[in-house]
């Protein structure tokens, strides 16, 4: 078993004046202090950054950041896996400890993307779909329109995801967007890709999140009380015809994570999922088994996924309101869940939370995702 000993965050937002070293360093220092371990006790580090090579022209950012914090002479792995970069770093660190390669591992997800050279996110400039106009909001708008057609999902139900996200973020001092927004306001905003309005698309951000993971032996010594029950990483199936509203890759990643953890959705107390767009949370709730296929829109509008409901989803504000610094997101989801399992989430605390699930997804190929992760934690 692998345990979480320390968590740290560089709150998400626009850190235009700060370097990526500074943004990443803050989260690492916070996680080390929270864990009560020194830099010299870290035996391996997995550093996720998705866009630095493209936007900043920087590679091997992990060593650059960690060398300035006194982490040297250890294995450092740089990880790029689109929006699952951070959760993939978690998967690697978890496996390194399980394999007996190390007893203390650092996971860092860091992104600096509020720079003038960033355009709309796509699947890579040379991809044929990109050259035919497939920008990321369009790929989710196509899912939204089909979901409305097949299941009678309404735009108001999709907007309810955003209304809830904003309400949750009001209780999270680390969130980027901290202002209420009604369903009517969400729907009245400018359209990005019909039917998705601007508020239904997550904002870009700078930020970082870090974890210190430890083996059983060190967990006992330090009194770590959060267990990682499973982490599953899976690429897409890229089948054709792709079903845009029954996301097999999402469903199968979740099913494997539940199986490995020996529990199902009914025994999960809090969920952070990859709500890059309003419709994305609806699709992920279905794939995670929180409702029947096609019922995600009605679930979102029912209040069952809000704080105080049957199964709170994205109590942090999610990508939609906390912000989405690509490689930091997957790690920040784990930080959020760990905070609740410790009972330290303040006004947004999910009462008595003992188990949590984090789901991430990234990249777009042949109507499927390139990468999906699901992790289950407990205390």
């Amino acid at each position: 078993m692998v345990h979480i000993l320390g968590i740290g965050l560089t709150p998400f937002g626009r850190h235009v004046e700060r370097t990526i070293d500074h943004i990443g360093g803050q989260a690492v220092r916070a996680a080390l202090a929270d864990a009560g371990v020194s830099a010299r006790e870290i035996e391996g580090a997995f550093v996720a950054n998705a866009l630095g090579a493209m936007l900043l022209g920087d590679t091997t950012i992990g060593q650059t950041i960690l060398s300035g914090l006194g982490l040297r002479g250890l294995p450092v792995v740089n990880v790029e896996n689109a929006c699952t970069s951070g959760s993939t770093a978690l998967w690697l660190a978890w496996n390194a400890i399980r394999a007996g390669q190390m007893d203390v591992a650092l996971v860092l997800g860091v992104e600096k993307m509020c720079v003038p050279s960033l355009g709309l996110i796509d699947s890579g400039r040379t991809a044929i779909d990109t050259q035919l106009g497939l920008v990321t909001p369009a790929s989710f708008a196509l899912r939204a329109r089909r979901h409305m057609h097949e299941f009678g999902t309404t735009h108001a139900q999709m907007a309810a995801v955003v209304e809830k996200s904003r309400r949750h973020a009001l209780m999270n001092p680390d969130a980027m967007f901290r202002r209420a927004e009604t369903v009517e306001q969400v729907m009245a905003g400018p359209s990005v890709a019909d039917p998705l309005t601007r508020s239904e698309c997550c904002p870009i951000a700078d930020g970082a999140a870090a974890l210190v993971l430890v083996s059983d032996a060190l967990a006992r010594r330090h009194g770590a009380d959060i267990r990682i029950e499973s982490v599953v990483l899976r690429s897409g199936d890229y089948g054709n015809p792709a079903d845009l509203v029954r996301w097999k890759t999402d469903e199968e990643t979740a099913a494997r994570a539940y199986e490995m953890a020996g529990r199902g959705p009914e025994s999960i107390d809090i969920i952070e999922c990859h709500d890059a767009f309003s419709i994305a949370e609806i699709l992920h709730c279905e794939a995670l088994g929180l409702c029947a296929p096609g019922e995600g829109g009605r679930l979102a509008a029912s209040g069952e996924t809000a704080l105080g409901g049957r199964i709170p989803v994205n109590v942090s504000g999610g990508l939609l309101s906390r912000g989405h610094p690509v490689a930091a997101t997957g790690v920040a989801q784990i930080v959020e869940i760990a905070t609740h399992l410790r009972g330290q989430a303040g006004d947004r605390q999910v009462t008595g939370a003992r188990t949590g699930l984090a789901q991430c997804m990234g990249g777009d190929l042949a109507g499927d995702t390139k990468s999906c992760t699901v992790a289950i934690l407990s205390r």
Binding site: L120, I128, Q131, L132, G133, A141, R145, H149, P195, N240
Partner: protein, 139 residues
């Protein structure tokens, strides 16, 4: 679209345009029968060399959206895109849709392929792109 015939396609091996007939270029695995678009030289499932396949037959609209942000590649603003079903080949393909028929788009409607000057290519040159338009579009 005067002079459009002289412009290059936005990319090679994606479509052919002869007079009014426009077809997407796919491929098929002779071993397992699976069809591909865009064309792939080797079937990823069994490694067999594929055969060229022109994606003819009926087409219907599976889903669509109209992108209203600043368009990439100087595409029209706004521009519609969608997934179109090609049941004869058991394929669902992502494609641009006709920017002049945005108000006519409905899921399930029959479509046909067209092509014309639209935007620029990776090198910034004016170019021809294929797009699906409702089957009842004149011209």
């Amino acid at each position: 679209m005067t002079g459009a015939e002289a412009l290059p396609p936005f990319a090679e091996d994606i479509f052919v345009s002869k007079g009014k007939g426009v077809q997407l270029l796919g491929s098929r695995c002779p071993q397992c029968g699976r069809a591909f678009f865009p064309r792939t030289g080797i079937c990823p499932d069994d490694g067999t060399a594929t055969e060229a396949l022109r994606l003819d037959g009926e087409a219907s609209l599976y889903s669509f959206t109209v992108v209203r942000t600043k368009p990439p590649f100087a595409l029209p603003a706004p521009y519609p895109v969608g997934y179109v079903d090609l049941p004869k080949h058991d394929l669902r393909v992502f494609m641009l849709l006709d920017p002049d028929r945005i108000d006519a788009l409905e899921i399930g409607m029959p479509m046909r392929l067209a092509s014309g000057e639209m935007g620029v290519d990776l090198k910034g040159r004016r170019c021809i792109r294929p797009y699906f338009t409702p089957a009842d579009t004149k011209g």
